[in-house]
Subunit: 420 residues, 4 copies
């Protein structure tokens, strides 16, 4: 899955990248109080402390234990506590109870990270070339894995802060200049057999391949994602109360949970205010809408007389675009109003259920559990969001969540058929 | 969705088909006691009485009320009681509580059916040609709908009878001659762009179209479905206890429910006995395995070093096959041992999530709720089963159930990639 | 628990009483359709068919198997199906699933009863005097047990019919003459040490003894139960929306379940109509209110500036009263408007948690499970109701239900302290 | 409920007592990490931080807001966050979600306490004599309320720490000298009418009165509570697997939750180890058994051929005993082995459901919700435990928990009938 050079010249680059990614996780926590590290507001979320410990456990388990001579596990129970879902590795602490672990403390988790960092940097430094060739791709998986948890740390924290009546701010508010929404255009794409999935150099996850052919019929893709103003029109047109717009499961999910707007929207007199990582702010119609479930995105598209794109369509359209946009490094921590870039801002729901590409085989061993076993009951999202670490996504990158999930920065971009 | 002739010459054929399908529903109930009509053993199942009443309600609601001059609904509350899921039609009795309605009685439900039959046959007889052109396709939908409920009536009843410690028989036991399992062969199919979905004359459901192109890479399909003996080898190899073989959701579902064999298998000393509609019988290794969830079928395929076919692959392979096999009219009410026909015996799970074909648009009005709103969280099954009414399925026919469902006659046929 | 004469002269009387009680169970079912026998509308309720079979099983298990020479159980699985809660007897079919047994059929259950009746009458006829002395008290328990199930059969059926939008009638409507409510008076009782509980001849359940002393302080008891008009005033005064009137658990139970009136009351324009075993009828203010939970009775009493009586108070007050009133044999199947008798009409909730009397010891063996193991989390009710079989209750009779239960004919009679 | 002197001379004593109780709450937290303050391991438990804030809110709400001129609430949302169950005060944060509030932080909660302390001490200092007469009893309620939360803080924390596989210690381990269990003796008490409940000087809760007469028949009370060795014999005799020993609800609760020993007992090879606030320690047979539910205590008593005492019996027996024993101030944080004192070590379950004494009237206003509304579905415990603050309990003190609760330091003392 990676083509990092494995000769000795790779060591400094690998160590530098290791340091960069690892330190970013901790930088994301500089505004947190110790109490915040403990928060788990629903079973799908994990506490910040757990994200920090689990990403260290990943390196310990898949790199240090098998490959670092003489390495001893930092604590005999941490494997039990910080394994996420690797059945091959053994039993583990129940996911919904991650918030019940006050110990290890935050300081102890940071000490764990220090121990793992020391081990890892030593391993990168001292491994012989053959071992380096083996571990370099694993390190790259570990770093991409940690980047995924950086995004989750922020979305999970936003979920927890959003529940608290005090509405804590993760970061200070900033002024955002109001702009007019750009008009929605349509970009046509011809039909034909297309190559889908990754091939070639550069790290990718196993689920992005093998590269294979799909027939993609002619379609048009919207020039930008849907924005708050457009979504508000759907709400005001009774969108949440019209079953004919909804998938059956979505209608039931929305009724059960009492959905009447995206997550993190709150009624405020006649209008809405939005909870953001930088505090409450008034609804900006030009801003890209986010925190939608698949069901809401699908219902909106039906209401708008359009549909969601397939992931093959999105990938086809993405090929000519630079991987640029509003990612985590912008520091905005929220979608922009411009809507002009193809990547970033919000993950866009596709109409594609998450499934294996033809010829897909998970890796042997525990890392084979990374992606493949989740290929059911989830939908694919593409493109990265405003809290995706820079450099993490690419045209073939496949994110996936169950259709009722709304706590990610998830939105939509409309598509429609073109006649062939 | 239908190309029935709509001129007057069609009347006798339409009336005859109406009589044939409607009477079959009642013939299926001849062995039932009044008490059996009431059974609802889980929310996914419905009582036989409800199936009989609901299929009458369908004709009353979509044919008689809008098209039969002067027709008055048989009972003012039956619309509330027997609407299944048509939100456009109005409120309805909660699905999990269908078994709580002792009234209307069985006799009253039959009287309802008589009243609807009288109305329907009168309508077919007396409608002018223009109306006949409108209603003939609707009648055909209603009859196909009733055929679907015939199958469900039997699978639901099997589920309920299977729970009863007295293990009631739906029909008398018959002797089945033991045969040797046929060896498993592989049939190769070349890759290329294929037309998928229905086009042309003959009734189909809306979800079978529009016909569209898909790229289907080279593949091989097993010469017959998996049989009990093969599945038993999976069990004996620890298949239910090896998480690496399972999708994550499937592993959780199986652990929660305590799965250790297909539904309706019971331990009997060292071996298994199977509950069938014709009573308990010893496991026959050559018999096609059934009552598997998608998760089990998928785990089996992984264990066997193969995979499930996509629905496009299955449909491609089906094109050259006659629609023949062990259907309801054989009277067996159980899969055969031969495994020689492509259709019938068991619905085979495909690896395809149930989704709209490109260009799919549900019908306007309430009938638009028939298929489209279920296109999420379900998997497609193909080919029909031993309790599918004869003539009901075809190459493009798409059945669908959630991946945990096991109470249908569902099995699997293996597939594998061929290099191109 | 019984002082039936055990010499031979007792045989005809015992046989006659056996026939009388047993036939009443079946007479209660003459208006039922076969479908009705299957109904189980909540886990606390049982289907009529189950009541009929369970009461037969009781005689089979505790009389015929141990005492009737050569008796063979009617069906090897009926013990599993129709045991209610006797752990000592063995495993049993899950209570919430009693409605899922279409087999044995109604006819088969009646055949079971016939077989048990034949065995029982033969046993009573032919047992020698010593055996008769042993079995006569057990027969009496079995008959009282069956009488309890007669009442439950009707309340369970009312619950199930009450859910059905068709509102089936158990019996035809009758005209009830309107009367003015009698004014509420208070009857004073002096304080002192009282003997509570049964002693002396006549059948009683084990929980009615041992007779023991309790100090009962001076109190007054209302001259009649609360009626619908008074309860309506509580509702109209916001009784269901004022937490200060409610026990904490009661407030939570009512909010969760959406209580706004007694069970079987339905809004009808500005007023209420009541579902009864004889169909819907308008609310009659003079009629004794029923289908209240303990929580509602307690909240009403608090609102009325009074309290519920203790069971010792009720029993003290009952001693001078004839055991007369509106019982099952009146055929009314509903409380009266007169409110003049001390017994019957409605079971009155007492403020006494159901607990063992001092010195209470359950019987040895399985019958020891009859009462004692339920002495927790339940409240005592006294006095019998309009569906209690005649002759079944007495001053010391203790009925008990959990405080949220509302499907019995349960109401209240106010009490208050008097200064000593 | 209190007879504190209300003249000016009372001010220093009241202020001193205020400081003593309030500071004890914080002293109990000196070993906690910030993360520990957040823990809520089940809905019945609350985080330490919440206990600290809620007990401050109590003084703010019932003392400062109504009685301190010019006092402004510390934070406008704290009333919503830290109200426990006072419906009269208004809406409140859902109890099961108390662990989801990372903000206010621990430091902010301590600041809240400081502000309340300042207000309270100022109020006590400056209130005129008339106001002092009004507030002094309320202050005493607030302090007793805080003492209750001190005990809960420790039991809740023990529950949460006990779940953590790291088994954190609240306090360092101490050596405990092994002693032989004292033999179990029986102390006889004559029967007669007894005065039960509080009367006279000294603070009590409203539920301890009014004083009233009860007939208490002759009984004997065990000379000490049941110890671990005795309870282990019950376990080894199959106590958890014999339904005939259990109340029906208790049997169901135990089976559902998988009980096979008291809470905080863990299998360790052939024996057991116990989790304590001072870490894991081997089972000591002479130590008083604790962390039993009512159901377990009741089953043990039945197995032992005895019964639980009523609360009137316990109170009768307690009258001649000094209120001495192993309370919080001993610093042991665990029951002793001696079993020699009547109070302390463990709360003993009585067989008495928690109910109002004759003539009980809750206070007017919100404080009336303190006790009365919980008088249903709970059992009374008596005597105080090893984590009850010194001076908190007395002969008439009534603690109460639902019968399934096991996370308190709850044990039992046997009783039996004596003939009169």
């Amino acid at each position: 899955m990676s083509d990092l050079p494995s000769d000795s010249s790779a060591r400094p680059a690998l160590a530098a990248r290791y340091r960069e990614v690892r330190s970013r996780s901790e930088e994301l926590c500089t505004t947190l109080e110790p109490e915040d590290y403990q928060l788990q507001s629903m079973p799908d979320c994990s506490p910040p402390k757990w994200h920090l410990a689990h990403s260290a456990w990943f390196f310990e388990t898949f790199l240090l234990v098998p490959h670092a001579p003489g390495y001893r596990v930092h604590h005999p129970r941490y494997g039990f506590l910080f394994n996420s879902y690797y059945d091959s590795i053994g039993d583990r602490w129940a996911r919904p109870a991650r918030g019940l672990l006050s110990r290890p403390t935050v300081a102890e988790v940071y000490a764990y990270r220090r121990a793992v960092d020391e081990g890892m940097l030593g391993l990168i430094e001292s491994a012989d070339d053959q071992v380096l060739g083996v571990i370099a791709p694993l390190v790259e998986i570990g770093l991409n894995h940690e980047e995924q948890h950086q995004e989750l740390l922020l979305t999970d924290l936003k979920h927890a802060f959003g529940l608290n009546p005090l509405r804590p701010c993760y970061a200070p508010a900033v002024d955002v200049e109001a702009v007019d929404p750009s008009p929605l255009g349509w970009e046509p794409h011809q039909g034909g057999v297309r190559w889908i999935g990754h091939e070639g150099p550069g790290f990718t996850f196993d689920n992005e391949g093998p590269r294979h052919r799909e027939y993609v019929a002619a379609f048009a893709l919207a020039s930008r994602p849907v924005n708050n103003g457009e979504y508000l029109a759907f709400i005001e047109d009774g969108g949440y109360d019209r079953p004919e717009l909804w998938l059956s499961d979505g209608w039931a999910a929305g009724r059960d949970a009492g959905w009447s707007a995206p997550l993190h929207w709150h009624r405020d007199g006649p209008g809405h205010v939005l909870f953001t990582l930088r505090g409450m702010r008034p609804l900006d119609p030009a801003e890209t809408v986010c925190h939608l479930s698949y069901y809401e995105a699908d219902a909106y598209a039906r209401w708008a007389g359009a549909r969601l794109p397939t992931e093959a369509e999105w990938e086809t359209a993405s090929r000519s675009r630079p991987v640029e946009g509003n990612f985590l490094d912008s520091g905005r921590l929220h979608p922009t109003t411009a809507g002009g870039s193809f990547y970033g801002d919000v993950w866009v729901w596709t109409s594609s259920p998450y499934a294996a590409y033809r010829g897909y085989r998970p890796a042997a061993g525990a890392l084979g559990e990374y992606n493949g076993k989740f290929m059911c009951n989830q939908m694919v999202l593409r493109g990265g969001s405003c809290v995706t670490p820079p450099g993490h996504v690419r045209p073939t990158y496949r994110n996936f969540f169950p259709p009722h999930a709304r706590w990610q920065f998830s939105g939509l971009r409309l598509a429609k058929d073109l006649s062939e």
